[in-house]
Subunit: 315 residues, 2 copies
Amino acid sequence: MGRSYAVVGTGAIGGFYGSLLQKIGLEVHFLLHRDYEHVQKHGLAISSINGDFTLPQVNAYNDVKDMPRCDVVLIALKTTQNHLLPDLLPPLIKQGTVVITLQNGLGIEPEIASVVGEDIEILGGLCFICSNKISPGKIHHIDYGQIQLAAYGTDGKPQGITTAMRQIAADFEQAGIPIQMEENLMLTRWKKLVWNIPFNGLSVVLNAKTDAIMADLHGRKMAEQLMREVVAAAFGCGLKIDESFIQKRLEDTVKMKPYLTSMKLDYDFHLPMEIEAIFGNPMRAAQQVGVPVPQITMLYQQLKFLEAIGNNASC
Amino acid sequence: MGRSYAVVGTGAIGGFYGSLLQKIGLEVHFLLHRDYEHVQKHGLAISSINGDFTLPQVNAYNDVKDMPRCDVVLIALKTTQNHLLPDLLPPLIKQGTVVITLQNGLGIEPEIASVVGEDIEILGGLCFICSNKISPGKIHHIDYGQIQLAAYGTDGKPQGITTAMRQIAADFEQAGIPIQMEENLMLTRWKKLVWNIPFNGLSVVLNAKTDAIMADLHGRKMAEQLMREVVAAAFGCGLKIDESFIQKRLEDTVKMKPYLTSMKLDYDFHLPMEIEAIFGNPMRAAQQVGVPVPQITMLYQQLKFLEAIGNNASC
């Protein structure tokens, strides 16, 4: 009997990964909100670069109290919804449950730990994926898909590769999801921020895709400077990211297809942006260890301003 | 016989001040470009909070070679046109001519000095005025109007109040233009930048008026931080601006009518922005004296990016 999975937040990320797990025969329970009725009736449909498929029947819920406690809980809400976790998580958890957050940014796992307690294993799952929900129950997987998995320790220290991590990674791999197991969660998270901070922020403030930012002399300089601040902040937190990593990420970005970041999509669709998880928490972490991050700070403030004003002004 | 004035650039600034000088009977010669034919035929019309008036006949030129050499040359081009000065200034200058630049930003006077030579007195005229050219030859003076006059010294040192400055100030005062004579040009210029850098820059990048920036917590913080960097840069250049000046400028801005900065108007009308004079030159001055100005630098880069991309993307 395979592991049972609860998917909290059945959108572009949770719907995609959860569907792949169900497709190989695992028991998956999907929590939905707006799309509940549609998915309850019609299931989920995935159009993916790896092949299209539909799941006409899924276990759909609109109330966590109707869901069974599961072996694994995948959190795929936007971090702007994390104030709901104290209501959503406890009914899904039993002894031995592993909670995986598939969310972006910093400071997520401590928040989860404060809800589920120290006896529950928490993994960070960093998703490198391009996917969109195009209509209720319909997800378009455009590119990539890898997840980096790393274990959270309440002391913030590296936990190495755990048994639960290996088992869950095996499920994902069987479902066709490439998994990279990482020993150091915080290092993995900061490394992802090296890209996310410049490109999510600048894409919104400058109304630009990744290729336009990289093609412009000043755009590229800004990205590089912001990356340096992220690396300096990480170093202040005891995490060494090599200089070559910055150059590699810049070069990778040049080679990428022109890309609208998730934050830019949120902004354009008038949805809440994940400003605190991706900018606010890293900024405060840097401040706590006395590392100046003036450009991250200004980008954070610009995003907060744009969110407060509403983005009507830009049209 | 009164002093003769040449106005180089007959727009919202040059057209307004030049008209007031002609109105009190002084000899004024206006250099025009696009509006030459209209103004040659119909003169200039000023609608001002201080009273409307028209000058049906003005000395209008579209070639500086047709103009007489004058006692005073007022430069009221945009700084983005200053590459034209080597052609425009020499034909207007004789022994004893005083050149006044009514332009914004830093590094203007040395550029003029390199064109006209060290024997010609150069004054900086910092305009505190709201005025727009609304159609060819028609200028709308909305508010304010004061000019701060200060003398340029090739050594960058304060020159005090000069005789020429007093005489020209008397002409302006007689024409109804409030003049404040300043002893220290560089200090006066940096003080103006304390306001111009945050509000010109943020108004473009955030698509916002002054009141919206000041009403938002993060907008106000950004303005204050940028002001602090300007003050630090000035201090690095040996110029002391008091902390209270920052608070005063912030409070003044709250009390102002909601205001679209000149840079924002340029951006919206797809005209070149004065990025180098207002941002680039102060940034480089700070770098030369080793004062870090990371937030001014990022704002500069954002403006350069937006200008390079064109602002079509924002619509």
